[in-house]
């Protein structure tokens, strides 16, 4: 009932749609969209914090987040290459 009052306050025809129905028709597909659209960015970010051993060994370490997070990749990029010059 509270949800219905909230929907009425927002105006429009939202009050005609029940909350469980909205979960299936709106929030679930939207969550899938967001996951697919944002996953490559997460993957890129996570990859940049991994050590080389971790990157090439999915059996010992889970690939979904860095186990031994490291800044070595950034250190190498910023201090051992010409990258700052290109910036």
């Amino acid at each position: 009932m509270a949800a219905k009052v909230g929907a009425l306050e927002r105006g429009g025809m939202d009050y005609l749609v029940s909350l469980p129905r909205k979960w299936v028709t709106v929030y679930l597909p939207l969550a899938v969209f967001l996951f697919v659209l944002l996953f490559p960015f997460y993957w890129m970010a996570v990859t940049s914090f991994k050590t080389n051993e971790e990157l090439y060994d999915y059996k010992t370490y889970t690939p979904f987040w860095p186990v031994h997070a490291t800044l070595a990749n950034f250190h190498k990029l910023l201090f051992e290459t010409d990258y700052p010059l290109w910036l």
């Binding site: 929907a7 709106v26 969209f33 490559p40 890129m44 690939p63």
Partner: protein
């Protein structure tokens, strides 16, 4: 022109010098004001295009200006299997990617048009794939599509759905599907946000009236949303088709046209022949061969999709 027949100022008496009379002429002033824009257009638009068309008619190579050989380049391209493969690839890529982009983009736009928490924030981050440089997202997809360390293959194997890792970029058809998927990923936000802008111009009262008349959600979409959205769809899909047809960065970063030319588009083939291979004339000819397709797409959009009668659901 109407301007000539209706001069603003009466002709000056002969007592004035020729310079003053000249400066009073509307035609001359109009010409002077037009000059900067015309020069810019000629310099930066017509000249490269004209040079490209000219190069396509010569046998120029890198470092040599070459001689005029007429349509020799086109005749040799007509017998070139790789060229026809690239035409097929380009058409497949454009049709498949644009269709999927339109479907998913329209769905995402409808979802974003609902009342959802953090609406502005969600709309902003949905645009992220579109605003990052293509090369950056292509590198991310390269790692995702890697034949040994692909996260997709790994997950599917762990779930027991497949037994062997998918060779995403190694097999011709898998590579085609992979680059199309990457292009769709990049293009969906653009389509969705543009269509969302169109959706917001539709008055809510139309939906209320339709609901009172007993319209189902599908009927509300089919007979209210779709007809009012058609003009925006026509514009957005024209842009989407043009961008997809001329796509270069994504393909070149992901596959360089491989495996065995399976993902070569006309743009990448043109670059490969002209710059990497050094045969400027032939590359230019391939690029010029794209123009008829692009013109056809634009004409179809202007004379077909943007017709009022079609947009209002009627026939000719």
């Amino acid at each position: 022109m109407a301007v000539e027949s209706r001069p603003l100022a009466p002709p000056l008496p002969l007592a004035y010098g020729w310079l003053e009379r000249l400066m009073q002429s509307r035609n001359l002033l109009g010409f002077l004001f037009l000059l900067p824009a015309a020069v810019l257009l000629l310099l930066f638009l017509t000249y490269p295009l004209g040079l490209g068309i000219w190069l396509g008619l010569t046998n120029a190579t890198l470092g040599e200006s070459g001689k005029f050989i007429g349509i020799g380049n086109y005749l040799s391209l007509a017998r070139d299997d790789v060229f026809w493969l690239s035409v097929y690839n380009t058409l497949l890529y454009t049709v498949a990617a644009s269709t999927v982009k339109f479907g998913l983009g329209l769905w995402l736009a409808l979802l974003l048009n609902e009342h959802i928490p953090f609406k502005a924030f969600v709309r902003a981050i949905v645009l992220l794939p579109f605003i990052v440089p293509t090369v950056l997202s292509a590198v991310a997809f390269w790692w995702i599509y890697d034949s040994q360390f692909s996260i997709i293959s790994w997950t599917l194997v762990r779930m027991g759905l497949i037994t062997h890792y998918i060779d995403f970029l190694g097999q011709p058809n898998a590579a085609r599907a992979s680059v199309i998927a990457a292009n769709v990923w990049r293009g969906v936000p653009f389509v969705a946000i543009s269509l969302l802008a169109g959706l917001q111009t539709i008055a809510p009262s139309l939906y209320e009236a339709a609901t009172l008349d007993g319209a189902t959600p599908w009927q509300r979409f089919r007979y209210v949303t779709l007809p009012l959205l058609t003009p925006i769809i026509a514009v957005v899909m024209t842009f989407s088709v043009l961008f997809t047809f001329t796509d270069f960065q994504l393909i070149y970063t992901l596959t360089r046209g491989g495996p065995i030319n399976a993902t070569h588009l006309m743009a990448t083939l043109s670059f490969q022949r002209a710059i990497t291979g050094g045969r400027l004339g032939e590359g230019a000819a391939i690029a010029v061969a794209m123009i008829p397709f692009l013109l056809a797409a634009i004409l179809f959009s202007y004379f077909g999709l943007q017709r009022r009668r079609w947009q209002h659901g009627g026939r000719d």
